[in-house]
Symmetry: C2
Subunit: 480 residues, 2 copies
């Protein structure tokens, strides 16, 4: 007999028919009720054991965490909380879980802190919270692909190992095959990268944008979705050394089109999880409600998780120029009362997290798209405006998360781009191929990068980015 996934059993109407499920014991109450979960859904199937149905030796091995195969008959449930349950006829133990050993792990049935769960990241996916997060993460990933594919974008795998560090600004990890105990040196006493695997210095990518641009010039509309790396020593709840980024790039698209795309895209994927992750979102929402009960009133969330997601769908993102934003901030109460750590006294300053939060959470109370930033605080490839001092950049700021998207219309004019690179000492030889896109059939084009984990944070309501990726990489931590 083939086994059936729990998600299917729970929706099945094949009452009084035999059924086989395989999964892990989540609880075993009163020597009678076995809750089995197989990961296909957050919901367990209740398996009801009558007296003497199974061997006592087997019964004694039905422990939390054990892998079991349970045969029985599907019946309407007598109890509350589930529509159907299984009247057990046979139990096989596929894999034991010794309660004494289990006690030492986060699988033991008691409350563990998220920090503790992180130390056993290989087991935490077996908990309700992390099962829910990772299912939502998977569905969100798929929604991203579906959105772009439906809209005739092509998926491009930009390289992870790269020689160019134009964007890295020293924050790129090095990749090497050299023996670090015995680094070959050239006649000048410097590392002889000619001896290395790629015959040159190589890094882990900090962004696939430049390569994606070359592909947009051929395929028109492309997107990347892949891992990205920063050797940035920031131990915060919002930074990872390895994270996944989504980077669409569109030919013949200006900054307005770019903002339209980003907003439409984000709304699509949020709608997708609302439609496809109802049980997991409900669980995560309740989790937050419980968590909030421990907090003082003022720190509690203003909206339930799913209401917050619906709010995003139902409201236009507020589009505000950097210059307007500076005016608002300069005249804001916290600025006048000197409550900002970085006071705003004029045009040109980079916005800090406190400013972004004020704009999004206090002033506009909705997602905000800031655009037309000062050229000096943005990257070399962003298109210079006619004013000569701002660039066609845009950042999307989300409540509780801060920057979730950063994008721009790209500088398509070869001469302007070269001037900018020269001013920043970016050697043309390094980016000859990038410059070629401006040499042959250059055109207006735009794109953005979305930090995938920040989106997962927002959608799941989790507070630490380490809890929305299976195996987080942070300073001093690359376990598993």
């Amino acid at each position: 007999m083939k086994h059936t996934k729990v998600i299917e059993v729970l929706q099945s109407d094949k009452l009084l028919q035999p059924v086989l499920v395989k999964g892990w014991v989540r609880s075993f109450r009163n020597d009678r009720f076995i809750a089995v979960n197989d990961g296909s859904t957050i919901n367990n199937i209740q398996c009801v054991l009558e007296d003497n149905t199974i061997d006592a030796a087997i019964q004694s091995r039905i422990n939390v965490g054990a892998a079991v195969a349970i045969e029985g008959t599907l019946i309407e449930s007598q109890g509350k909380g589930q529509r159907v349950e299984i009247q057990v006829s046979n139990v096989e133990i596929e894999g034991d879980a010794d309660p004494e050993e289990l006690k030492l792990t986060i699988l033991s049935p008691k409350r563990h802190t998220l920090e503790k769960l992180r130390e056993q990241a290989h087991l935490r996916v077996r908990t309700n919270t992390f099962g829910a997060i990772m299912r939502v993460r998977s569905k969100l990933s798929f929604a991203i692909h579906e959105y772009f594919q439906k809209n005739d974008f092509y998926y491009v795998h930009t390289p992870v190992i790269t020689k160019s560090d134009a964007e890295g600004a020293g924050e790129a990890f090095k990749v090497t095959n050299l023996d670090l105990n015995n680094i070959p040196k050239n006649e000048n006493g410097e590392v002889d990268y000619k001896e290395d695997f790629f015959g040159g210095e190589t890094n882990l990518t900090v962004s696939g944008q430049l390569e994606a641009e070359t592909y947009a010039m051929g395929l028109g509309q492309v997107y990347t979705f892949g891992p990205t790396f920063r050797a940035e020593n920031s131990n915060t709840s919002r930074h990872l050394a390895e994270f996944w980024m989504v980077e669409p790039e569109v030919a013949f698209c200006d900054l307005d089109g770019n903002m339209d795309l980003a907003e439409d895209f984000i709304k699509y994927v949020i709608q997708f999880v609302l439609d496809n992750c109802q049980d997991d979102l409900e669980f995560l929402e309740n989790r937050l409600v419980q968590e909030d009960k421990q907090k003082p009133q003022a720190e509690r969330a203003e909206m339930l998780l799913r209401d917050k997601l619906k709010f995003i769908l139902e409201n236009n993102f507020k589009r505000v120029s950097y210059t307007e934003a500076i005016d608002i901030l300069k005249n804001s109460k916290p600025n006048k009362k000197k409550k900002f750590k970085f006071p705003i006294d004029g045009w040109g300053a980079d916005l800090q997290s406190e400013h972004e939060r004020f704009l999004v959470e206090k002033h506009f109370k909705c997602p905000v798209i800031l655009f037309d930033y000062p050229a000096d605080i943005k990257s070399f490839y962003m298109r210079l405006n006619e004013d000569g001092k701002t660039v066609r950049a845009m950042d999307i700021l989300f409540p509780g998360i801060g920057e979730i998207v950063g994008g721009s219309q790209r500088e398509e004019r070869l001469d302007v781009l070269k001037e900018k690179m020269a001013a920043l000492n970016i050697p043309e030889e390094e980016l000859w191929w990038y410059l070629d896109t401006r040499r042959f059939g250059t055109c207006t084009h735009s794109g953005f990068g979305l930090g995938f984990e920040r989106l997962v944070l927002f959608v799941t309501g989790m507070g630490n980015i380490r809890d929305v990726i299976p195996y987080p990489r942070t300073p001093l931590n690359a376990e598993f």
Copy 2:
């Protein structure tokens, strides 16, 4: 007026209505016919210019490679080869392409070798061949996600940077943030990895399998689809230092289930591209036909590209045990006539490419799944059979490609796994978390890895793996 994608224009029935397209000039014949491509499809839209419609200065800039915006009226085409065309009313040049400069690139309208195209990988996607390959690659990627998501698998992002090198066998790239010109040393004179970003030695992953297994033990059915790395010095047409791999992992699934899954999966994604990439496949098929005309009869393909793909769909993969395969090979003509470079004289030998090709292309003439390999030539995590000498491994061999899938039922028994690791000197401390999956609720489970680029090779009919990934990384090459 908003512009319309060429793929939509070509299917449009809005005859006699105004239309705006934006794209790149592929050809300009008789001062009259502009073929414009925007990457959305391999097909161009023909734009017909009447005399004196546009300024001579503009007309002189309509060169191959230039980016143009063309307005006009959609009309039924008078010529052969297209249903509709655009009667031009206005042309704007978005970006020039100087014919003299273009001559120096692969965009110049003449035949270039694939080797030459590789040197300008940033431009090759603008050619018909690479546009087609990369659109097919994108669709194949999506088909992979769709298959697993439809079948209730969850997508897992396993880490790229990892401390464990259990599988790497020295073929993993090192990742570091240390200054290679000034490596910190500890008191023993060895590299002091404590000073490194992660506080220890780290590598680029060679497989996400072990981490995927931990996730299958929670979510039941998972898959990875991400970049994988090998610092292997093989300059062949089938190896890349950076490639994408698909790795499903399924709890409560044995080797038979694993073979069923792999076959069903491959057939699904091939059917998907047959359904969704008709124009690109037709182009690639014709390309091969042309290529074959240069070859002697004996070396020509036996089947057209799409017939080869359909053949995969219509036939069961032949399942053959390693032991049977050895018998067939031992008694084969090439073996008896000493035509194999590595003669087969007994059980236990690893199969070489020549043997695999004989089995697939000469003997069975269809995809073959070889299973139950000798334990000695396979990985430590594969389940030992009752015979004590073979393991529940399987490889899928494809005509022209060789191994496209490698998988196994995993050793779920803690004691057997530990013995195997000890025999191979794999320290338990390094894989404590992996062993935990066998300690708590272990179960029968299986999975496989599919080298994505090999699948793209097969589907596109290309001969060199460097031509099916945007920016190939190989020994001494990490350009762009």
